[in-house]
């Protein structure tokens, strides 16, 4: 076990380098992904125009700007496409190559996504951060605890999203229709994570449901930390929820993976 861990660690720099090379090789594809992730800008347009004359609920136009820019930033940092990658690899047989390597594919996929992060953020992130700091500054929190917890919260959000997508990707071992599941995932995600609209604007029963689902902890949690002033209890609930869902989804993802690999028959060579 120890050797496996040290092996993974030793392979990490190389894996990251491969990840960067992959991004550079598939530039066009990559740009499209970045563009897809800018969807919060559309919602930003919509909601600011709704709130132009008078605040909507307790959101002013500037609040919406801050909220959706924060959403955009968190989404840029945490979004991933590992489910697509995995179902593609299973279908094409490339998964066999990954299984041959002495490092668990969870880490190889994770490394390739982490390596993509800097390049991915290069386009949208600086713009969004500058805009957020200028236009939405007054809507941001100035609480030092919340700001300090922001980075861990984003890291956990990344891990939850990645584990969830990895679990969906592992379903490709059992089903041929993983894309339908990924679409269903995205529909639920956009609603329950605060991607389409802030969760407190949702009808109460849906907002109540959102509190118990993992989606909120993938996006809304860091955004709330950044744009609201929360009391200690709320902060503990957000971070605690994130930790709990990280553990649950990691277990599910790795469990599905183990069960799936057993029935994997490589296609092609």
């Amino acid at each position: 076990m120890r050797s496996a861990a040290s092996r993974t660690l030793r392979a990490l720099p190389t894996l990251l380098r491969i990840g960067v090379a992959e991004v550079v090789a598939y530039r066009a594809e990559f740009l499209v992904w970045v563009l897809t992730m800018t969807q919060p800008l559309i919602m930003l347009g919509l909601w600011t125009s709704v709130a132009r004359e008078a605040p909507f609920a307790r959101y002013s136009s500037a609040d919406f700007v801050a909220y959706f820019l924060a959403t955009l930033i968190v989404r840029q940092l945490t979004g991933n496409w590992v489910a697509w990658q995995m179902s593609e690899d299973v279908r094409s047989g490339a998964m066999a190559m990954r299984l041959l390597r002495p490092v668990h594919p969870f880490f190889t996929y994770a490394a390739s996504h982490l390596a993509a992060l800097p390049l991915r953020s290069i386009i949208a992130l600086p713009v969004a951060v500058v805009l957020l700091a200028s236009a939405g500054a007054h809507a941001l929190t100035s609480d030092p605890i919340q700001l300090a917890l922001l980075a861990p919260s984003i890291a956990l959000a990344w891990l939850i999203t990645f584990a969830f997508m990895f679990a969906i990707g592992a379903l490709a071992f059992f089903l041929t229709q993983t894309m339908a599941i990924a679409n269903l995932y995205f529909a639920l995600f956009s609603l329950f994570s605060g991607y389409l609209l802030p969760l407190d604007l949702l009808p109460p029963w849906i907002a109540g449901l959102a509190r118990w689902l993992p989606f909120r902890f993938m996006l809304s949690a860091p955004v709330e930390l950044l744009t609201r002033s929360l009391d200690g209890e709320r902060i503990a609930l957000l971070l605690g929820g994130q930790l709990a869902w990280t553990a649950i989804l990691l277990a599910v993802a790795l469990g599905l993976w183990r069960a799936g690999v057993k029935r994997f028959e490589a296609v092609g060579g």
């Binding site: 594809e29 347009g45 609209l197």
Partner: protein, 262 residues
């Protein structure tokens, strides 16, 4: 032409037969369309809980736009995108060669290769939403508006089809197209809102660059009797122009097709 129609009928029959083979999907797809419909409607409900009107649109009129959106999406996901996903697969595996060899136009062949008959559910849901919206308004559409609304639904579908063909043509140069489809889907999602609720810059993009306004807003306005002649003509002309452009780009793209096999 008759040969093409016969071909279309055959492929439709095959698709229905294969859909019938997986009857469990029937229930699943039904449940999915209910879910999709409610998720589609929810932001609208939230907006109109807090506001009577947004940019001159009241709730029932915005519902009509949504019903157009749902209908176009049903056609898109039922008729257009499954075939184009197939196309990507064929280009990658090289079996697109066989399509080119057939004595039918390749674009026609590709556009009609696969259907998802279950999407009929979503079409029905769209119709239900439209009927509900007009019940809320208290008056049915005038016959002339109804006719124009149906015609413009056709042009909306044409515009959508053209956009997706453009995207498919891109796959001759950049083979990975699935995420381009995904992007287009994400943008198409904005078509659920009347284009007027967006700020000016957004509205410009959604009218001229990626004409989602032509797909849903203008047809819905026609059905509501609010579209003037100028916009009607512009909608029809825009859709037809897109169709021509997509055809030209497709022809150019296909020339640069280099087979993946052998």
């Amino acid at each position: 032409m008759t040969r093409f129609l016969r071909l279309l009928a055959i492929q439709l029959r095959i698709s229905i037969a294969s859909a019938m083979a997986y009857r469990a999907n029937f229930v699943l797809e039904g449940a999915m369309s209910v879910l999709w419909t409610s998720i589609t409607l929810l932001p609208l409900i939230v907006v109109f809980e807090g506001r009577d009107q947004v940019a001159g649109w009241d709730a029932p009129s915005a519902l009509v736009v949504i019903s157009y959106f749902m209908a176009v999406r049903a056609v898109l996901e039922g008729l257009i995108s499954p075939s184009l996903v197939d196309l990507v697969e064929k280009i990658r595996s090289g079996s697109f060669d066989y399509v080119l060899l057939k004595p039918v136009d390749a674009q026609a062949m590709v556009s009609a290769s696969r259907y998802e008959p279950w999407k009929v559910f979503e079409l029905a849901a769209a119709l239900a939403v439209a009927i509900y919206a007009f019940v809320q308004r208290g008056a049915p559409p005038a016959p002339a508006d109804l006719a124009l609304g149906i015609v413009l639904f056709g042009t909306g579908v044409i515009a959508t089809y053209a956009l997706w063909i453009l995207c498919a043509a891109a796959s001759f140069w950049v083979v990975r197209l699935d995420n381009l489809m995904y992007l287009l889907g994400a943008i198409f999602d904005t078509a659920r809102w009347p284009v007027h609720v967006f700020p000016t810059a957004w509205r410009f993009v959604f009218t001229f660059v990626i004409p989602v306004a032509v797909m849903t807003t203008y047809p819905a306005m026609a059905l509501l009797g609010k579209l003037d002649l100028e916009h009607t003509l512009a909608t029809v002309a825009g859709a037809l122009a897109l169709l021509v452009i997509s055809r030209v780009v497709w022809r150019t793209a296909i020339r640069s097709y280099t087979s993946a096999s052998s």
